[in-house]
């Protein structure tokens, strides 16, 4: 069937048709929908794991058990899963295993711009990179054959522009794969030094075999055109090159980007006058070409920062800019922000008001960092708020204790916050951790997690009790507050900061965007009562603005959380009584 699919759906379809049976992932933009689409197929057991390391190890276990398995993650998630990855390269697989990793050049929704191709090289694991949805589908499907033929996990690398672009895919049917019966094989699967030493040469031989495979494999394509310039490229950059040049240049398109061929690239280079490498992020293809003695131009022309487009390439090649219209008026930015009625806002307001130092984390609540609340001091990676506040307080002692908190979401806490909290309990720092429990993984688009009580299919599942978990670690002071109650939040915050022992505050209220959370009647401002003090503007609610000097509530945005009511010294916010 011919259909328009986003890259992520195409990947899921390809894996499905190839007989994928077990799929475990942690959500992360732009990779999330791969697993969400996979979960729509009943033949695949699919789950959200607490983090990417767990997910990859689940996929390993399923492969060991003889089934075709997969996991998906964003580029920074691969850092979390790096530990199993490097040794999985040594053990190889029983059933085929595909690791989908989505990079985010341009950092549309990420904290860094790392290039996952380095992992393929470092871990000596083959990596495929499609250039549109049709290839995402095709490569995902064929990745399992490479995995089983060469006894290795296989990377499928995509970037945001592939993950979230739709193009036409011709889909087929699923081929059911019989499980390969499990056979005990300690020399292959128990990576003690004695065994691992024997596996390493096998890995090196495998890379040589894969390099040989790369010379003629169907994933790499030569498109000869004009021979003044030959371009070596891969992924979405291929599309930009074709957009600019059509057939006026020759192109070597790499689909298998690790390991890369040697002779095939040399042959291509010999047919053109000049070779230019076009690749986003780091100069990896370029370095390979230079290593094998091909003279190329690459990163001296193209930046290793940000996302490319056809314009990037046209500009580098000195093509004339396309005629366009420009205006002088400066358009105010429209940054993302916490939604009207977001339960995180109340807690951030209290933190800002009390001038608390906040070590933040990764999620919707990172938006607490933006004005007017500006209630955050650091954001590093998943879980770093909890570990970080411990270190901050060990360094600052009395100077920072009682004035500093960690802020982390429920899903992020499950991902890697809990280990930091164990460290706080074990090594005893006088730290306060606030878990913003909105009962969902919000930023990535509402995925279930171990605290929500539901699994990826929306069926009831095991539910981790945060209070009991914190207590069992050894945190004696665990308090639950409602972030819509500012007075209560402030009282508890002050108490816990003053306490001379570790403490956890669970700020609990479900995300307003959840379907079961019904909005209440929007508030109205009584202009006679509003004295234009603008105290409500310090709250940063997108539903509140100043119109004609008075506060004004946009009824299309307001969900009636009534927190602004608690802020107004003049009772100007009124709940409208519906007739």
């Amino acid at each position: 069937m011919k259909q328009l699919l986003i890259g992520n759906a195409a990947v899921a379809r390809g894996l499905y048709e190839a007989g994928c049976s077990v799929f475990s992932s942690y959500p992360g933009t732009p990779s999330t929908e791969i697993t969400e689409f996979a979960a729509k197929y009943d033949e695949i057991y699919c789950e959200w794991a607490p983090n990417e390391k767990v997910a990859m190890e689940v996929a390993f276990g399923a492969s060991l058990g003889g089934k075709r398995s997969a996991c998906a993650m964003k580029h920074v998630g691969l850092n979390v899963a790096a530990d199993p990855l490097f040794t999985l390269s040594y053990t190889g697989v029983t059933g085929g295993m595909v690791i989908c990793v989505a990079d985010d050049p341009g950092m549309h929704s990420s904290q860094n711009e790392q290039d996952s191709r380095h992992y393929a090289i470092a871990a000596k694991v083959p990596m495929l990179e499609p250039s549109d949805s049709a290839e995402a589908y095709e490569f995902a499907k064929k990745a399992y054959d490479i995995s089983e033929k060469f006894d290795t996990p296989v990377f499928l690398r995509i970037c945001t522009r592939i993950a979230h672009s739709q193009s036409i895919v011709e889909t087929g049917d699923r081929a059911e794969k019989q499980a390969i019966p499990y056979k005990k094989n300690p020399a292959k699967y128990i990576m003690m030094p004695g065994n691992a030493k024997k596996r390493h040469p096998i890995v090196e031989k495998r890379t040589l075999d894969l390099t040989e495979f790369a010379e003629t494999c169907e994933f790499n394509k030569v498109e000869m055109g004009g021979t003044d310039v030959g371009i070596i490229t891969s992924g979405t950059c291929y599309q930009y090159v074709k957009e600019v040049f059509g057939d006026s240049v020759s192109v070597y398109k790499l689909g298998l980007i690790h390991p890369m061929p040697v002779n095939a690239l040399k042959e291509f280079a010999s047919k053109v006058k000049k070779v230019i490498v076009v690749e986003e992020l780091d100069g990896i293809i370029e370095a390979h070409c230079r290593n094998i003695g091909i003279e190329v131009e690459g990163k001296e022309k193209f930046t290793n920062i940000g996302e490319f487009s056809q314009k990037t390439i046209a500009d580098v090649f000195g093509k004339d800019a396309k005629a366009s219209t420009s205006i002088e008026t400066e358009i105010p930015g429209r940054p993302p922000m916490m939604c009207a009625g977001c339960p995180h806002r109340g807690m951030y307001y209290v933190l800002a008001k009390n001038k608390v130092t906040v070590l933040g984390d990764i999620g919707c609540y990172t938006l607490g960092a933006v004005p007017p609340l500006s209630a955050m001091d650091s954001t590093l990676c998943m879980g770093a708020s909890v570990s970080g506040v411990h270190g901050f307080n060990k360094a600052g002692l009395e100077a920072t204790e009682g004035k500093t908190v960690a802020v982390i979401g429920d899903s992020t806490f499950m991902h890697s916050g809990v280990t930091g909290l164990i460290n706080i309990a074990y090594n005893g720092s006088n730290s306060t951790v606030i878990i913003l429990d909105n009962s969902i993984t919000g930023m990535t688009g509402h995925q279930q997690n171990p605290t929500t009580g539901y699994n990826i299919k929306g069926d009831p599942a095991g539910k981790i009790n945060l209070e009991a978990l914190c207590h069992s670690i050894g945190i004696n002071r665990v308090t639950v507050v409602d972030p819509y109650d500012l007075e209560e939040c402030e009282r508890v915050l002050k108490e816990e900061l003053a306490a001379k022992e570790p403490s956890v505050i669970i700020s609990r209220r479900p995300c307003v965007l959840l379907k079961y959370v019904k909005p209440k009647t929007p508030l109205k401002v009584n202009p006679d009562k509003c004295r234009s003090c603008k105290k409500c503007m310090k709250f940063g609610c997108p539903a509140i603005s100043i119109k004609n000097g008075k506060a004004f509530v946009d009824a299309t945005l307001c969900v009636g959380c009534e927190v602004c009511k608690q802020l107004c010294p003049f009772d100007a916010f009124e709940s409208e009584v519906q007739a």
Partner: protein, 191 residues
């Protein structure tokens, strides 16, 4: 056929995703090669959102760059201005005159540039500004702004009216079909 490029721009939560879905599906059914690209993530939280739709005999790049868009469909007044540099000379802007204040305006750090559409018109751009929100409400739901704007866009396309209607029937839940057909018609025929 040469590639036609349509940019759909607006504010997170306005329903531009459904518009691009409808348009993409219709264009595939019409037999074109189609690419649609959008960026999710942070932009869903009330940020500026942009979707690219490109179609023709063969489409390579999924993105639209400076001076390349044949049409910009804007769900909000200043979002049209934000992306105007992407419009091709002779291209057309369809804009919903709804105003949604961004956070810098809300907190008083910036002014909402009220006259920006006049500036664009003054620069010789063909601007078709309509009150899509009122038309959507007239059709039965403020959420139908996206379909009103698709109706307006349809006027500039060589695709039969009934094919658009068929695409609506295939894209929205049955109970909303009539309302959306009305919204489409109001967008198509207004002014």
């Amino acid at each position: 056929m040469a590639v036609t490029s349509v940019m759909i721009v607006g504010v997170g939560g306005q329903g531009s995703l459904l518009a691009s879905k409808l348009l993409g599906k219709l264009l595939v059914d019409e037999g074109y090669d189609v690419k649609v690209s959008e960026v999710h993530g942070m932009s869903q939280r009330g940020g500026s959102v942009v979707t690219y739709v490109r179609f023709g005999d063969k489409v390579y790049s999924p993105v639209i760059e400076e001076g390349e868009a044949d049409f910009i469909v804007s769900f909000e007044k200043i979002e049209a201005a934000r992306w105007i540099k992407c419009l091709k000379k002779g291209g057309k802007v369809i804009v919903n005159t709804q105003q949604i204040d961004p956070m810098p305006v809300i907190i008083g750090a910036a002014e909402y540039p009220q006259a920006v559409l006049d500036e664009i018109k003054g620069a010789g751009v063909d601007v078709d500004d309509i009150d899509a929100l009122s038309l959507a409400q007239q059709a039965g739901s403020a959420k139908a702004v996206n379909i009103v704007l698709m109706g307006r866009l349809a006027k500039g396309f060589d695709i039969p009216y009934e094919n658009w209607i068929k695409a609506i029937e295939n894209s929205v839940a049955p109970k909303f079909v009539e309302m959306n057909k009305k919204a489409f018609e109001l967008g198509y025929n207004c002014k």
